[in-house]
């Protein structure tokens, strides 16, 4: 174990796998000479050279489309899309390309493509640099969407993604890059299809995504003072969704809150709520509660952004209300 930041853990995963597999090639805006706007690719150009770490032009759809071609040609491309908001520009290459060719070509090609991107609000970055759109790629059959919430998972999920033969979208969170944690040294794999119980509890379950996992743990500590024992589960992977783990907890506690930063309507929490309800309906004492961002674009003002973004307080209140209302 070693103490690393989330950004360093991602860097560690890239470096380790690039040493192991020379088919891995990184491409993205400002990832080479500069080492990435969030420093995730720092030092990799120097170590692996310009054939394996490509600074690209500002061409989001083009980079991902090129990566789709590279993957079909036997390489293992890893694209960095600087902000999830810009992933909007590349969805054609994902939805009509990466998700389609392995299927449509009848299995003649695999698609070992990793798209790393970064989302989330809380940095006063405004409506074009703060969104959480993970529900979009999670809607696509054949594409994995994973969201690490801590440095160890960041390394483990990225390493697994780098060994997958199917496209993986890894959504990082801008506010997590600087957070530190214990990270296993050397090879560390986290499966791409397993949720994890990060705090066991009996009275209610909070199913959380990405940065909301940390907020849920804070809320759980506060609730413990009120003798409420809250289980916290980190979803980690949106697709395939680990319904078994989520539903087992829901059946035990009977009370579920699902928390993600994305907008609520048609967001990731809608699917999780629906899937958990399908699997644990009889044991639920109240409908699953969803927590997410207020349904407006993210305002830039520091005075407005907190109104839009959920946090530990929002979660605590949601659990309190749920416990009061549940039959």
């Amino acid at each position: 174990m070693t103490r690393l930041t989330y950004a360093q853990a991602l860097n560690d995963a890239l470096r380790g796998e690039m040493l192991r597999d020379e088919r891995i090639v990184l491409l993205g805006e400002d990832i080479g000479v500069y080492g990435g706007v969030f420093s995730v690719t720092s030092g990799l150009l120097e170590q692996f050279g310009p054939d394996r770490v490509l600074d690209t032009p500002i061409s989001e759809n083009g980079i991902v489309g090129a990566a789709v071609g590279m993957a079909m040609s036997g390489l293992r491309p890893v694209v960095e899309i600087m902000y999830t908001d810009f992933l909007c520009l590349a969805l054609d290459s994902i939805a009509n390309g990466a998700a389609v060719f392995p299927f449509a070509y009848g299995g003649q090609v695999s698609m070992p493509l990793v798209i790393r991107t970064q989302g989330g609000a809380g940095a006063n970055a405004g409506p074009q640099h703060s969104k959480s759109l993970e529900a979009w790629t999670a809607h696509l059959p054949g594409v994995h969407t994973v969201l690490p919430s801590n440095p160890a998972d960041a390394k483990g999920l990225l390493t697994s993604a780098l060994r997958s033969s199917e496209p993986v979208v890894l959504v990082e969170h801008k506010l997590l890059y600087g957070t530190e944690g214990e990270v296993p040294e050397g090879e560390h794999l986290v499966p791409l299809e397993r949720a994890q119980v990060v705090r066991p509890g009996r009275d209610a379950t909070v199913i959380a995504l990405s940065r909301m996992v940390g907020e849920a743990l804070v809320a759980a500590e506060q609730l413990a003072e009120q003798q409420l024992d809250v289980e916290v589960i980190d979803v980690r992977s949106l697709r395939p969704l680990d319904v078994a783990t989520l539903a087992a907890s829901a059946r035990r506690t009977g009370r579920v809150v699902v928390a993600g930063e994305a907008w609520v309507r048609y967001g990731p929490t809608a699917e999780i709520a629906a899937a958990v309800t399908e699997a644990a309906f009889a044991e639920l004492r109240a409908p699953v509660v969803r927590v997410g961002s207020l349904g407006v674009p993210y305002p830039a003002s520091p005075a407005l952004e907190p109104t839009v973004l959920p946090d530990a307080d929002t979660l605590r209140r949601a659990v309190e209300d749920l416990v009061k209302s549940a039959r």
């Binding site: 489309g65 071609g69 040609s73």
Partner: protein
């Protein structure tokens, strides 16, 4: 540590040494498309169907300039590449009919037939995709350092896609071994060239990227082959990309659902048919009419056999789709 990066090997038909062989391939393509028109009519092929009657020289001339191991990306109108690269036509027709013996087991259909063994990795129904995929192939080829080349086929309409700019810039910047063939058939679906671009000499777009470019008579199969051969040679020897604009004309409906009415009938009048042009040239060079007739007959028979093969092919099983969905969805997906 894995070893060398090997792009997929292709089994390319031997380079066409003479015009007769180019003529044969064009005839095969014409027969294929004529047969497909019938099959669509009969309901044996369903869904969108983009034929290329009148455009045979561009596609056939271009693929004839390639060698074993090169790669090709193509568009929604990819039959010239299917024939030019020597794909087994029985399987190809089976794919278009949605049968089990199709290269893609019926999943891809007429626009999405890949054939790795023949170097075809990237026909796509999305305008612009062929350009982006070619960037990726080019990067892999440059990395492998084996002198292989990617031919990227695209259309006049595609020149206006965002992908065109992004791809041309990247192939220029990284000097990738990519040849971009713009099949300018003077229409993007129903929109005439001068109604979708102001500067109708499309090869001029290359200058802004510092890419050499050439415009050729896209109905002259030898001219196309020569232009593409030059470009391929440059790409192979690390000289970077070239844009080749082949000016031709689509002498058939855009697709099965074409209601017509947007093409100027006068345009079609002075038209050079690529097959007739090649035939006249062959006769002028001393070939006998019977030789041409024989080639025509052989092509017709080959297509008839391919159609028979495809029609006899069973329907694919749907069971594996259900398994795939279960794996991707996780528990309780549907």
């Amino acid at each position: 540590m894995t070893a060398v990066i090997q792009p997929p090997a292709g089994v390319r038909p031997a380079p066409a040494v003479d015009l007769m062989e180019l003529y044969r391939r064009m005839r095969l393509l014409r027969c294929l498309d004529e047969a497909l028109a019938d099959l669509v009519e009969q309901g044996l092929v369903r869904g969108p169907m983009h034929l290329g009657i009148g455009q045979e020289a561009a596609g056939i001339g271009a693929t004839a300039a390639l060698e074993d191991g090169d790669l090709v990306t193509a568009t929604h109108r990819p039959h010239a590449q299917y024939v030019g690269l020597g794909l087994p036509l029985g399987r190809t027709l089976a794919e278009m009919m949605g049968r089990a013996d199709g290269q893609c087991g019926g999943r891809g259909g007429h626009m999405l037939i890949a054939d790795r063994a023949h170097g075809l990795l990237g026909p796509s129904g999305i305008v612009g995709h062929s350009l982006l995929l070619a960037v990726g192939h080019g990067l892999a080829q440059r990395r492998a350092g084996l002198g292989r080349v990617t031919l990227c086929v695209t259309g006049d309409g595609a020149v206006n896609s965002g992908a065109f700019n992004e791809a041309l810039n990247m192939v220029a910047l990284w000097r990738l071994p990519v040849v971009v063939l713009v099949e300018n058939n003077r229409y993007g679906l129903s929109v005439r060239l001068d109604r979708h671009v102001h500067q109708t000499a499309l090869h001029r777009r290359a200058g802004g990227y510092g890419i050499p470019a050439v415009q050729v008579d896209g109905n002259d199969v030898e001219a196309v082959r020569e232009a593409v051969q030059g470009a391929v040679g440059r790409a192979r020897s690390a000289g970077g990309p070239t844009l080749v604009e082949a000016v031709t004309y689509r002498n058939c409906p855009f697709s099965g659902s074409d209601r017509g009415g947007y093409q100027d009938p006068a345009e079609a009048e002075g038209l050079t048919d690529p097959l007739r042009l090649a035939a006249e040239r062959l006769l002028a060079r001393g070939r006998r009419p019977e030789e041409l007739a024989e080639a025509d007959g052989r092509a017709a028979r080959e297509i008839a056999q391919a159609v028979a093969f495809a029609e006899a092919s069973p329907w694919p099983e749907a069971a594996d789709l259900v398994a795939l969905a279960a794996r991707w969805d996780g528990e309780g997906g549907r």
